[in-house]
């Protein structure tokens, strides 16, 4: 299918458009986000390499595939708006933060490269906002809350739910800031709008994250140990 490049009259969403396309951010902002994301990915490759268990390879593939699939399901939130899973916290709880970061980068990159969902110039920003914030920041919060609740075994589901919600809202804040710095739209307008919508979408993120973890806990609870045994290293 050929589309007329640059035709502004064209419906920018052909079916689904979920992730920021090129043009939303200026090239310098996008470049900074690319640099930041590449740096984090380099660290992720090094650290997951150090503690990576071969048994976890299939889990890595399955988690990334599941997150890709789940991201295709837009659920309805109020007011003619939808949202979809990001999955960063879910991935990190199972895979550990660094391997999860690589998995999320892979999902978002395939979406951009193959499905034209999200631009290539802004791919670094998209990986950061939808992946890294959840896998690193969200996971840190998850560990913190789980610790307060008496450990991961006890507090896994509530901690993951809260972290999942916060990661979606934090991703929206990051996107709003990048849009504002790019001069696309003023922060005082976009920030409340982005946070408002994503506070609702985050509930969906929390529900799906908790449901997926509860399902794994009921069927293959040993998968949780795969990360903990490696994370101690």
């Amino acid at each position: 299918m050929l589309t007329i490049a640059g035709d502004p009259g064209l419906d920018p969403r052909q079916g689904f458009l979920l992730h920021a396309p090129d043009g939303f951010l200026t090239v310098p902002v996008a470049a900074v986000m690319w640099a930041l994301t590449l740096m984090i990915l380099a660290i992720a490759v090094r650290l997951s390499n150090r503690s990576f268990d071969e048994r976890a390879v299939p889990l890595l593939g399955v988690m990334a595939a599941f997150i890709f699939a789940a991201q295709m399901f837009n659920f309805q939130v109020i007011g003619g708006t939808s949202g979809h899973l990001l999955g960063g916290v879910l991935a990190a709880v199972l895979l550990g933060p660094w391997a999860a970061t690589i998995a999320m980068a892979c999902v978002v990159a395939v979406q951009a490269l193959v499905f034209q969902d999200g631009g290539l110039v802004v791919l670094g920003a998209n990986i950061f906002n939808m992946g890294v914030i959840g896998t690193l920041g969200g996971f840190w919060l998850y560990r913190l809350i789980a610790g307060l609740l008496g450990g991961e075994a006890k507090g896994r589901l509530p901690a993951a739910g809260v972290a999942a919600w916060v990661s979606v809202v934090a991703g929206a804040v990051a996107m709003a800031i990048q849009l504002a710095v790019s001069g696309t739209t003023p922060l005082e307008v976009t920030l409340p709008a982005m946070v408002g919508v994503h506070a609702l979408i985050g509930i969906g993120e929390a529900v799906i994250t908790i449901a997926a973890l509860a399902f794994i806990g009921a069927t293959r609870a040993d998968l949780f140990d795969m990360r903990s045994s490696r994370a101690q290293a």
């Binding site: 050929l2 589309t3 007329i4 490049a5 502004p8 064209l10 920018p12 052909q14 079916g15 689904f16 458009l17 979920l18 992730h19 396309p21 043009g23 997951s48 990576f52 071969e54 976890a56 390879v57 299939p58 889990l59 890595l60 593939g61 399955v62 990334a64 595939a65 599941f66 890709f68 699939a69 295709m72 399901f73 837009n74 659920f75 309805q76 003619g80 708006t81 939808s82 949202g83 979809h84 391997a99 690589i102 998995a103 892979c106 999902v107 395939v110 193959v114 499905f115 034209q116 631009g119 929206a172 739209t185 307008v189 982005m194 919508v197 994503h198 979408i201 293959r220 040993d222 045994s229």
Partner: protein, 115 residues
């Protein structure tokens, strides 16, 4: 650095060895059952972009492969979405598997040797 001894028994025996096939089947099922039911409404960013009028800044992709999670030559929108989604699931799984093998196999210290 002391690494706790790992119990390798759980994943070494028969039926559990291919458990990842079950995981993959779940991902495929999500595509087949849920993706066609996805809400067509704009998502969070798109909604805000529409409300605040910056959606038209979106630039077309230079190269379209399977844009919008649809296979261009399949007319039925449901089948088209499902096929595109299954291609994506396979690609992501394959890419991550290869990447994982690469990560897991790289020598990480004196204890890392040929499998």
């Amino acid at each position: 650095m002391n690494r706790p001894a790992e119990d390798r028994g759980a994943s070494a025996n028969g039926p559990q060895r291919r458990w990842w096939l079950v995981g993959l089947a779940i991902a495929a099922l999500v595509v087949i059952v849920l993706a066609p039911l996805a809400s067509p409404d704009p998502d969070g960013l798109e909604r805000v972009g529409g409300d605040q009028g910056f959606l038209d800044r979106a630039r077309e992709a230079l190269v379209n492969i399977l844009p919008g999670y649809a296979v261009p030559f399949i007319d039925d929108p449901v089948i088209s979405t499902i096929v595109a989604g299954l291609i994506g699931v396979a690609l992501v799984f394959g890419a991550m598997w290869l990447l994982g093998r690469f990560l897991a196999r790289r020598p990480s210290g004196p204890q890392a040797g040929p499998r």
